[in-house]
Symmetry: C2
Subunit: 341 residues, 2 copies
DNA sequence: TTGTTTTGTGGGAACGTTCCCAGCTCTTTG
DNA sequence: CAAAGAGCTGGGAACGTTCCCACAAAACAA
């Protein structure tokens, strides 16, 4: 029942463990005949190298942590896929922890990962500055961190992978305008995450350019749940602020907003067009389906994993920032007869 | 930069590693004064025990695997939370792998976990029988497996945690009938997963009891995605089979079906009421919100983790089956004036 | 032939812990 | 007052690997 070890093979073949090891690892200086015998015996006894022993020997845990703000959306699951596609192949395990949009929980998650002795961490943060000092400490202590999606301020010299939020947000605003929208709300999400301000900036630039920017339509939310989206729109309606479309920071905000509108009997997209920034299956799970900026989530994960491995293999290697291309997908939620003709 | 080890402390305090170890673990036979000195030095030098070394010593990897069929739904994420709530506290890491509803991928995932030397596996399977032999082999080789949600046939003596599918499905059918529904479709999901047949049986029992069972309304789907739900309903409409409500095996099937109906201009719940079996945030992310049987997912995870630890600590301990209580939640998708008055 | 290189093998330290055992000193006991 | 016990400490094996080193035998060079 106990798994076979090198020593078992050693006893069984009357060879030293050194020889066995060399044969198995296909090192030089091993007689072909001996090698064959060892391989056969290993096969027969079902020998599997003990990874824990290897980890101790090499001073690695062969595991990395992934810390994400939420998991009600399949966003993180898609990123995870990319990470695993790259890391599982080379024997790395990934341990995922969810912060529930709370910087304190994020803190707990990070210290837990440190206790787990992970070789590195991939992080999508909750709050741009709150835990910045902790990130620095962890890296100081020798565990590299790579960021994606929501990244920390420039003060921290780290590798990261993002999408071009500004441009994509601009393009989405242009799209709404091209369908005839004039009063475009932006649900911008909390200003404590960089992407929120980036996307808002893109939106604002285009609206200003078209001379239809109105600060009243730029609404900050405290979070990014369905509930936050709903509350924001409820507030707008209560205040009597007119709007003909909504561009939301995330799928969840957009959907929360949309469902409240539908509940109130307001038609989408006829009366209010809606779109968002994301890239998850959620945007196609509602009716009408959401137009959105789709991010290449799997590639994002893969890139982050690659950057992390660079740091793990050579801790003094330069930090790099990867900017991936997102693409706009137009769906039912913004499909109305073009406003211009 | 290198982390402090026992040996470092030993050198620093001119004490043997044995004594240091005893002091740290608070064993008997240690002088209070020595203990204090050791603790202080450990604190000062930032000593953290090396988990890999401990794992080697104790012959464990202190990690378990979680294999789930899908992650587009927050179902698995919720279960994961329960598992982690229990396991992270006692120093266990959990590695999650997704099978994408493919038994072959599930196979790969399981063998990967075995290579990772996990101490145990928690599994929500894709297909009731396909990998049954593999499960047996893995357990034979010493890695316990605990099942939840979708469980294997009775041939396998394993611990598992489920909900009372039959009863809950019956109650949901009764609910639909009480709102006046007479032509109730059941989207039953693939018959290769036990819950599908369980829930279908509950549904059928009630409809037969009320004399409104029609085999035409019992439709098997090949999978459980949005797409499968949509296709099933499309087919029903094409065949001209009349129905006034749908009870779906999962949120995803229900939503896929609902969105197609809405797309066709059919009103929900006025013309067709819809409900499902699940317990995820997905059911409240659509409009109208879905009535559904909500499973206690976090508790499910916690229970599975507990059962797994029992097996890990004593591999000969008896297998147990836990049946948890789900509860019905009525929402907009079935809210129409009661049919009886 | 003798010296040098190549080829193959075994011994054993090292990774960072725990824990058994031996041994020392000091107190208690009959 | 010797014997027994309690309190405390150190030595070192063990967990399962890899890999450096030493060494023997064979192959090659001169």
């Amino acid at each position: 029942m106990k798994p076979t070890t090198l020593k078992d093979l050693s006893r069984h073949l009357s060879l030293s463990t050194s020889t066995i090891s060399r044969a198995l690892l296909n090192h030089k200086n091993i007689h072909p005949e001996t090698r064959k015998r060892v391989l056969e015996a290993a096969e027969m006894l079902g020998y599997q190298p003990n990874t824990t022993a290897l980890n101790l020997r090499y001073g690695k845990s062969k595991s990395i942590g992934l810390v994400v703000p939420e998991m009600v959306t399949p966003f993180s699951a898609n990123v995870l896929k990319g990470i695993q596609a790259f890391l599982n192949n080379i024997g790395y395990k990934v341990i995922i922890l969810v912060s529930d949009e709370s910087p304190d929980t994020e803190r707990d998650n990070l210290t837990l990962l440190e206790r787990f002795n992970v070789d590195g961490i991939i992080l999508n943060l909750c709050h741009e500055t709150y835990n910045q000092a902790l990130y620095a400490q962890i890296m100081e202590r020798g565990t590299p961190i790579v960021f994606f999606d929501r990244i920390p301020g420039n003060a921290l010299d780290v590798s990261k992978v993002i999408v071009n939020d500004h441009i994509q947000a601009s393009l989405m605003a242009e799209h709404l305008i091209s369908t005839g929208c004039k009063r475009i709300v932006h649900l911008m999400g909390p200003p404590t995450v960089r992407n929120a301000t980036e996307r808002a900036a893109g939106y604002q630039r285009i609206l200003v350019k078209h001379g239809i920017f109105d600060p009243e339509l730029m609404v900050k939310t405290h979070g990014t749940t369905f509930g936050h989206g709903k509350e924001a729109v409820k507030e707008l309606l209560k205040k009597g602020i007119a709007f003909d479309s909504i561009f939301a920071f995330t799928d969840t905000l957009a959907i929360g907003a949309m469902n409240y509108l539908l509940e109130q009997g307001i038609r989408v997209p006829e009366e209010v067009a809606i779109c968002s920034f994301s890239g998850t299956e959620l945007s196609t799970s509602v009716f009408p389906q959401l137009s959105s900026v789709e991010q290449p989530l799997k590639e994002m994960g893969e890139a982050a994993a690659r950057l992390l491995m660079d740091k793990i293999q050579d801790s003094s290697s330069d930090s790099r920032t990867l900017v991936l291309d997102a693409k706009l997908i137009y769906r039912g939620s913004t499909a109305r007869g073009s406003g211009k003709h």
